[in-house]
Every structure is written in C-alpha cells, then in structure tokens.
Symmetry: C2
Subunit: 696 residues, 2 copies
C-alpha cells in the first residue's frame, strides 16, 4: 500500500463515519425512531448526543448499565491510555527512525505520496543498526506501561466490585446456593432429600429450597400460547388502525372467524399448560435445587466447603440472580456435565477449523479460474461480466458475513450445553470462546495466510514461532492498517443500529407484523468485547513492526468510547449484573497480546541481526507471565467470591432491619420456574399475558 | 545382549539377593544388631521374617505405619496386579509372536543361548504383519486393566482415608488453621491483631491462637547446647565402659578437665538460650499464627472461605500435626512465598540440567582417550593399568552415586524454601520433585542418550515425539532389562540396611561417637516412592516393545512387597500421617506412564508400517486423559479436604464427651514452638535434655 492509498482510505472512512453520525443525529430526534434509537426511554432525548456522552460520570453509567457497563467503558479508557502512550512512542520516536533508515530504499523526500508505507515499518531500519535499541527499549517501556495500567484497572474494578457488594440491597442470589447432583434414594422425592440434608447439616442457617422441574414440554406449550397471543394482538392492532369495518383478511378468512379460531386454540393450549404444570410439579423433578439461607455467610459455607463425602454429589455453586436463570437447559448429573464440557471443547475447536475452511473456500472464490476448474459446467455463466463481478467482488464478503453472524449464537449454544445455568454465565463463557475464535480467525488466519494445516504447522515447532511470526506479521501490516481504518465505519454503524433500523422500517410497512412489546435489547457483551480486544491485539503486535497503525487504533478506541457511552444510556438495557466479572477476560487477553508482541519482537531482532537484543528480551515474557500470576492471586479471587469480612459485615448490618422479614418471605418463592407460575389471562390477552410470558 | 548373558546376570543377581537376605536373616536375631534391624522394637524378633511379613494384615500395617504405610504397601499390591496381567499377556502372547517373527533373522532353534534378546522384541515381527494387531489389542487391554485397577485403588484408599478421619480421636490439626500474611497496624502486636480479627468474625467458634516467633538465633544456641550435651554424654559413656580410672583423653586433656569445660560452656549457652527465649516472646513475632477453633467445621470455615477482601492477606490453610510442624523456616508474606516458588521451580529445572551434565561428564570418563584429550598432562598416569581400570570402571559409578545421594536432600531443601510448614508437606512436595527428576535423569536421559541439547530437541517438535521414541526406546531394551535385574540386589540391600550397618559398626569401634539415643528412622517416602514408580514406568513403556522385561519387573515388585512390609514393622517409625496423601502422586505417575506407553506404541506401529493401528490408537491417550480428569474430580477433593457431612458428624459425635474439655485445654498450647519451651536440665543432662531437643 502506498501513502496516498492510505490517505484515500482514511478520507473515505472518515467521511462515511461523519455521514453515519450525522444520519444518527438527525434520525434519533424523530419520534418514529425512538424505538430504534432510544428504546430504553419512551422519548427522544433532546440534547446533542456527543456532549451528553462526554459529560456523563461513571456513577451515571453504573446507575444506567450496572457494573458491567462500567467495565465495558473502562475497556475503552484503558485502551485509550495504553495507545496514547504507544502512539506517542511509536509516532514520535520509532516512526522517524524507521523512515530515516535505508534498508529498503534511498531516502527521497520528493515524492512522498507514492512511498510505500513499508518505509515507516521496522523493515526499513538497517540490519544490525544500533537504532534498533530504540525499538528494544520501546518494547520494555510499553510492556511496563501496559502492566502498570492493567494493575491499576484491576485494582480499581476490584474495589468497585467490593463497593457494589457492600452497598447493594439484599439480593436473592447472595443468600442462595444452587445444588446439583442430588442423590435420591428410590421412593423419596428430591424435595424431601434436600430438606432433610440441609436441616441436618445447616440447621441454623437453612431457610427454604425450590427444586427445579423438567419443563421442556411445558415451555413448548407456552411458546405456542405466546405465538397465538401475538397473532391475536396483531389482529387487534390492524383492526384498530384500519377502522371497525369487517373485511376479509387476505381474502381467505373473515377477521372475526380468525379471531374465534385463535381464541379457541389458545384456550386449548392453556388447558394443556395447566395440566402439564400440575404434572411437572407432581412428578418431573430434576436432581437440582435452589437452596436459600438466612445469611450470606451461611450460603458461602454451603458453597465453599464440600458438602458430601462423594465429591460428585451435592455439588454446590453460586446461584444466579433469579431473572438471570436460564431455565430451559438444566443439566444436573456430574457425569453429564463433565462429558458435555469435553464435547463442547472439541466442538469449538472444530468450529474454528470449519470456519477457516470456509474462509479459504471464500478466498478461492476471488479467483475465477479456480472456480472454473472446480465446476467446469459453470464456465459460460461465470464468463458473463456481471456474474463474474458479483462472484468475485461481492459473494465472498456476503458469505463470510453471513457465516460469521451466526458464530456468537453458536458459541452461546455451546456454553449452554456446558451446563451454565445463568444467562450471564453463558454469555461470559461465550465471550471467552468468541475471543479465541476471533483471535484465530481474524488475526492468525490473516497473518498465517495459507492452508489450515500450514497454519497449525507453525505450532509444531514452538521454538521457531518468533522467527516465523517475525516474517509473516510485518507482511500483513498494510492489510491490518486498512482493517483498522475500515473498522471506524463499522463501529459508527453501531450508532445507527442498521439491522434494528431495517427491522423497524420493515415492520412499519408490513403492519401485520408490528409488535407492541418492543423491549430494549440487552448489550451483547459476548460478541462486542472480543471485537474490541482484537484491536488491542492488533495495535500491540504492530507496535514495533509498523507504528503507523497506532494513531488509527487510538482513533478507533476514541470513537468506541463515545459511541458506547451513548448506547449504554439510550439503547441497551442490562439484563443481568455480573459485578464486573468480564474484566478478568480483558486482563488475560491483554497479557496474551503482550506475549505475542514479545514473541514477534524477539523474532524481529533476530531477523534484523541484533541477536543480543533478542536474548535480552527473553526475560520480558517471563516477567509478564509472573505479573499475570501475581494478578491472578491478588485480584481474581475477588471476582470469584466475597470474603468472610465482607459477608459478615453485610450480614450484621442488616440483621436488625425490619425489611429483612419481607425479603426472606419473598426469597422463599424467588427461584420458582416462571413456566410453573399459573397462567393469568384476561380478556385483553395480549397485554396481560405478554409480560408474563416474556420471562420464559 | 544375548540370552546367555541375560541368564548369567539373572543368576548373579538372584544369588546376591539370596545372599543378602540370608545375611539379614542371620544378623537380625543377634542382639547387637537390634539397633540396625529393629530399632522400633527393643528386642530382636524371633519368628522368621518372610512368613511374618506375609501374614500381616492391612490393619496391622495401619497400626504400625499409619495410612501412609498402607498406601506405600498398596503401591506394590497395585503394581503386582498390573504386572501380573502384563506378564501373562506379554510372555504368553506377545513374546511367542515376536520370537516367531522373522524380521531380524531366520528362525533357528539350534543355538538358543546365543540368540540376541532382540529376537523377543517387537522389532522381530515382520513389518506390516497382521500379527501386530495382537500388540495393538494388548495396548488397549493393558490400559483398560491399569485404569480399572487405578480406579479401584483410588476408591479404596479414599474410603480408608474417610474411615481414618471418622475413627480418629480428636486431633489438634483438625481444629486448627494456620494463618499467614497477617496485616498488622504499626504499634499493634500480631497476637492482638489475630485475637481481634477472629473474635470479630468467628465469635462462636474461635478458641485460641499461638503466634509464630522468629527463633533462628535461638535454634542455633539450642543446637550448640545439644552438641555439648552429646559430647558430655559420650564422655560419660566412655567413662563408664572403660572403668573409673582417670586417664588423659587423646593425651591432651584429662577427662575431668574436659567435662568441667563442657559443663561451663553448656551453662553459658543455656543462659543465652533463656535470654533469647524471653526476647523472642517479647519482640520477634512473625506475621503468622496457629488459630484453634472449638469445632472442626469452624476451622474448615476459616480455611475455605477467603478471610480478607485482599486475597493476599489473612491467608489460611490446614495446620499440620503439631509434631509435624517444620519450625526453622517460616516464611510468611505472600510475595515472599510467591517469589520463592518461582525461584525453586527454576532451580529444580537447573538441577536436572546440571545432573545431566554430570552424567555426560561421567559417561565421558569411560572413554580414556577422551580424558587424555581433555587433560593431556595426565596421560602418563592414565596409561597405568590400575588407574585406567579404576577411572573407567569404578570412578563413574562412584561419582554418580555420590552426586545422586545428595539429590533427595536438595529437593527437600527446595520444598522447604517454597514455604511448606510441615515435614509431611515438604516431603510430599520433594516426592513430586524427585519423581520428575528420576524420570528425567534415569528414564529419558538413558533413552535419549546424547547431549542435553539433543535430549531437549525431541520436545521442540511435539508431533514427532512418538516416532522418535519408537526409534530410541527399543534400542535401550537390553540396558533397562539389566537395570531391572540389578535392582533386585539394591532393593534387597534395603533389608540389610548397608549404610546403617556400617555406621553402627563404625560407631562401635570409635566408641566416643556412640550415640545413646538411636531413634528409629522415619520412612523416606520422598526418595522411595519415585524409585518404585520408575519401575512401573519402565515396565509399562517396554510392555509392547520388549515384553521379556515384564517378569523381571514383576519379581522386583514382589521382592519390594515383602521387604517393605517387614521394614515398616521393624525399622521405620512414622513421623507423620498425611492420611494417604501420597496416593494421588502414584496415580498421576501411572497415568503419565500410560501416556508414554501410548506415544511409543503409536510410533512403533508407524515404524512397523501399520499406520491404521497408529491412527486407531489415537483415542487411547485421549480416553486415558479423560479418565484421569474424572478421577481428579471424583477422588482428589477427598484428599484435599473433609466434607461438611464428615466434619459435622464428627463434631456432633464428640460434642458431649467429657474428655473434650481436656483436649481443648491442651489444644491452647499444642502449637507452641518447642524452641520456646523452658529448658529443663537435670544433673544427668544428656538423658533428660535429649528428648526435649529432639523435637527441634
């Protein structure tokens, strides 16, 4: 890539970004779009969004989006800090040094726009030059800065998490334990077994329990009921908006016939639901239960001290928030979950493999000759100009986009199969899976372009990895600079919510599909966080190799900072609060990025004939690893459990409060499967039933 | 090696074994050797040892040597079972098949004694022969049998461990927690901080605490005192045995002069000890304390629920048995221990490296030309026949023996530095280190004979490991068969206690060194267990390659079974009881052996041109790994902690027993550093002080 091409790309993307932002600024104030741009608020906000996003304090974000929202914004803050330092170092020191080198070409200031951007990369520095020690120092400095900031953030978020716990009102999940793998002697019910066990071993703190029931069939029936309800609702909506005159709908049924038919079916289904509900409560118990205690410390006791002599029975863990429980998939036995974990592990590896194969197939599409060789009978069609342009230019990216849009859902499905029982747990696990997936399919797949086997071969010989990376990573610098620049547009399109906008417009045209209950969506942390961390990885790994990328990465994070501060207020409503449990993922990913950076730097100094620098870099990954180990010991436990100190303090504070009585009486029924709650349907079925069913 | 050479070797070693056993049978009944052969008993046992060892039940062993003794014997039982099955399969099926192959030579039954034992190895089977499927099935069968037996043993020992807990009388370590990294505000004492903290957060179960003091200087003084005491004791012993006539000792001092001098010095030292003791109690507190609780469950609470908001403060862990505490080295701060761990990890890797270098140097000694090249000025001396024989034949093994005899102590020192506070913890950790060390320096160093770098290079390219192992492992079959056969002698010399015997005889001659207080030694599990596991590794890895080794391995384990059953009764007195915590090490080592076996088998079938068998073996290591993971989940927690169920049952059982009052009053002072106990010296100082000082 030459400099003028880069400038063009920057110009185009900046223009697109401004255009999108302007479109958003215009549309968001129009009442018709409130549903898309401010579903959390019933009105279109009046003030301009950018200053508003800037002015908001962290307390505001905490109030609006929970601690997870705060953590999400802190990812941008942290990244902006790291890449400000990196950009100052990179552009201020390394870039001029690289440019003034003469490994690639003689210096010639006359025709700057036509220079390749390789002149700004480390490749241009003379082999063995002492100037490379500047690069060497830069690696140490940026690692030091990043680690300091990581420590600082981890400490800050830990303290926020503790503060969040100490100031929270009594929450059911702090008093409750999920027990799985309950052994039941034949003839006994699970409920009796749980009651007997906890009365025996936790007599002073045990409060109540709620056994989980098999509700798969019930859930299908309730889904049926919901569908019929929404159809009825749509009928009424069309009815209201088109006046009272009865007319044939699509020329087939009268509206009243239809309504009667639906009403009849709804009543049938509801009768079945009632039957199934009583059946489930009577018979279909699962060997799992939510057990509530009188104190937080009592619940902690049941979690952290193994209950049974057989470690695979009476397994306890933290209960999720009642609204966060994912009811449909409730695996219980130890062996089941254990096998599922292994299967999922293999499946997610296979998914990466399959995706890489798809990428290669798609890359193959850009070469028409290849396709003609594969499918000779298509030759005539392919030689038409329109078709050939479509196939080579457009089809690949459509296929890729289509395939990759399903990946987050697949990852969520995998995590569900693993036996997580909360939406937050599933999303956190899916976030980890997506992170691995993204790093492989975007970073490594592009860096190690070639066959899948060729990609894996680099890991056959671990000692050679730095050398190989040092060769292949710089070669892709242009690609990743372009990738970062185009990502400006994609992050701004978050603002305009393109998909939601289309859905909204389509819904408006085809009025029969209009949904009354358009809830605010929840923030898809599991797909957003990995995407953001990818740019951190790209920025850090290219820090030494091609410092030109750094300002563009910095701009990306600045955009993200403002955009997501706005979106967390207006668009996304938090569905759960993990209390900042996403941060350890960010921390680990950053450490991984640093280690990859070190490997590349070691390889680069080797290639640049400065082996002493390579050797002197060796302690750096070790130190980074030790730093990470220290953070694990120092901070990770805080994200896994609260301490005796906190638990007892909090318990004592509330001991004598009168509202605790009410809390405990609510706690008894907090963990009841919503599918088992009695159906309440009034004449206006769609409005009253909807919120009831929404909780399924 | 040819068959007749093997027969000779077996004959010689069998003869030596019988000789040693006979010598033992004779010597053990002579009263003068009771100290060596039955230090645990004040008399020489009358019955023949072999039938006695055979007749003893497991209860007897438990009573005599604790659960650790039982586990130690179970290693032999388990190994005998595995290798009986392996020997039946190997000698009954694989050996004839190998011998009837004709890859190496035409069959010729005429001159059997001169056949190479390679004819019995898998190398002799025709490449690509269908008979190799027998070997293939054998790998699956032996893996299945081993895993079944592993599961069975783990289950058995787990149940023994639980039984041991449920039937134990109240023990201080079950009620006590070791707290480290205690934060102390300036001006406060550690004792006050502990008291305040546990009164605040564990008001109902907290009983008492004992702060640890810095007693390094005190310990030196007490050592001085002990030395002087034993010198005084020796003087008296010589005095008594040589009659009352005063005569010059070594012609320098009169005995009475000497005694007065020692008495004077002893009094000085004891005065210093008293000063230092009061000083230590007043000032030199360490930020660590043993905190005792009223119930076992209360102690478990303090261990398993993190105490402080800062995970690096108030760190709690199981307290060891009071007699098991290793007082001299009591590191406390989190950072200290954390850095120590890393340093020790690096140091133990370096130790393996250094040892391998020594081995190579020693192997170099067997080639005189090499030494002459290195040290040309020695040529004249080296060319003398005696010297050359000494240097090439004897020196290498002496150096190796000398160097390796220090390794277990070094490993113990490393484990001490890591911050373990109990002798049992140190020995368990040293056992793990010794295991790694033994596997590397004996198995891999011999298999991959060559330079250290060459050895490490095999791991550069992990995918090639099976192929390389399949080449190098069979090549060393003769060496390892010889190694196993010679080990018969070495395990029998355990019976004759050669080192102790020499020490005893030497002590008898040089009477001034006679020690009155010859205590029974403790079983050095950390050096014995790795040695035994090594034979399991050798046996399993050669199962496919050279089944001829199997009967010899089996004989080794049978010898060991009888010999150690005898020794645990007569020689070794248990110093601690970990409750079977050594078993997980045995389990993991066996799994590792299986995985190496699979790698070799995969490689062998590849070399033997049966790639389908190689591929069909691939699931086996995965299944073995999964089996291990299952065992980790199913059994390992039992070895780490007792369950709520057990703890509360046990607590309730004893709640109302009157003897608990006395137990609690003793518990308060159970964890007092013996160095701080007031010195009790009577006129007969050597006899009264010795037991007091022995506990240091």
């Amino acid at each position: 890539m030459i400099l003028s091409a880069l400038a063009t790309s920057v110009g185009v993307n900046l223009a697109l970004t401004v255009l999108l932002a302007a479109a958003y600024s215009l549309l968001r104030r129009r009442p018709g779009y409130v549903e898309v741009y401010a579903p959390r608020r019933p009105y279109a906000p009046l003030e301009p969004w950018l200053p508003a996003a800037w002015r908001r304090s962290e307390e505001d974000i905490h109030a609006a989006a929970g601690l997870d929202g705060v953590v999400f914004v802190r990812i941008f803050v942290f990244s902006i800090r790291v890449f400000t330092a990196a950009a100052v170092l990179g552009v201020g020191v390394l870039l001029p040094v690289n440019f003034l080198g003469n490994q690639l070409k003689e210096i010639d200031f006359t025709d700057l726009p036509n220079k390749s951007i390789d002149l700004f990369s480390v490749s241009n520095v003379q082999d063995g030059s002492n100037k490379l020690w500047l690069h060497f120092s830069a690696v140490y400095i940026i690692t030091g800065i990043t680690c300091y900031l990581l420590y600082h953030e981890y400490k800050y978020i830990s303290s926020k998490r503790l503060e969040y716990f100490m100031t929270s009102k009594p929450l059911p999940q702090h008093f409750t334990v999920l027990v799985r793998a309950i052994p039941v002697s034949s003839g006994d019910s699970v409920s009796d077994a749980v009651d007997k066990y906890f009365r025996e071993y936790h007599p002073s703190t045990y409060l109540s329990h709620a056994v989980v029931h098999q509700t798969g069939k019930l859930r299908l029936l309730l889904n049926d009921a919901e569908n019929i309800c929404s159809k009825l609702g749509n009928l009424k909506y069309v009815h209201r908006s088109s006046g009272d005159a009865p007319r044939k709908f699509l020329g087939l049924f009268g509206r009243n016939d239809l309504r009667d038919k639906y009403q009849k079916r709804l009543e049938d289904v509801e009768e079945n639901v009632r039957l199934e509900q009583s059946d489930a409560i009577r018979r279909q118990e699962i060997a799992a239960a939510f057990v509530s205690f009188r104190t937080r410390y009592g619940a902690a006791n049941a979690i952290y001290i193994r209950q049974s002599d057989n470690p695979t029975e009476w397994q306890t863990e933290h209960a999720p928030d009642p609204h966060d429980v994912y009811w449909p998939f409730f695996s219980t036995s130890f062996m089941e979950r254990w096998i599922a974990k292994f299967v999922v592990f293999v499946a997610s590896l296979l998914l990466i493999l399959v995706f890489l194969l798809v990428v290669i197939f798609v890359q193959g599409l850009t070469y028409l000759e290849q396709i003609e060789k594969w499918l000779p009978f298509l030759r005539n069609i392919l030689e038409m100009a329109v078709v050939s342009q479509l196939v080579t230019g457009y089809l690949p990216s459509v296929i890729l986009h289509f395939v990759s849009s399903y990946v987050p859902s697949i990852m969520k499905l995998f995590s569900t199969m693993q036996g997580f029982v909360s939406v937050s747990g599933i999303e956190r696990s899916a976030c980890n899976k997506m992170l691995r997936f993204t790093i492989w399919t975007v970073f490594f797949a592009n860096v190690l372009s070639g066959s899948v086997l060729g990609q894996i071969q680099i890991f056959y010989n671990p000692i050679e990895i730095p050398k190989k990376l040092a060769v292949v990573v710089p070669a892709q610098a242009s690609f990743f600079i372009a990738y970062v620049v185009t990502s400006w547009t994609s992050i701004t399109s978050e603002l305009t919510q393109t998909a939601a906008l289309f859905f909204h417009l389509w819904g408006k045209c085809a009025k029969c599909c209009k949904r009354d209950d358009s809830e605010a969506p929840s923030m898809p942390y599991h797909s957003e966080i990995p995407r953001i961390l990818l740019f951190g990885l790209i920025g850090l790994t290219y820090f030494i190799v091609a410092p030109l990328i750094l300002p563009f990465v910095l701009v990306y994070f600045c955009f993200g900072y403002f955009i997501f501060r706005n979106q967390l207020f207006n668009v996304y409503a938090p569905k759960y609060d993990t209390g900042g449990k996403f941060w350890p993922i960010v921390h680990n990913a950053t450490i991984f990025s640093l280690l990859v950076t070190h490997a590349i730097a070691i390889g680069v100094f080797g290639l640049k004939k400065l082996p002493l620098a390579s050797s002197l870099l060796l302690p750096l990954p070790v130190l980074t690893f030790l730093f990470n180990l220290f953070c694990w010991n120092r901070f990770l436990p805080i994200f896994e459990a609260y301490s005796t100190e906190s638990l007892i303090k909090k318990d004592r504070e509330e001991q004598s409060k009168p509202e605790m009585l009410e809390f405990f009486s609510n706690l008894v029924s907090a963990y009841r499967d919503p599918a088992l709650k009695p159906i309440q349907r009034a004449s206006n079925s769609d409005e009253r039933t909807a919120p009831l069913l929404a909780s399924i």
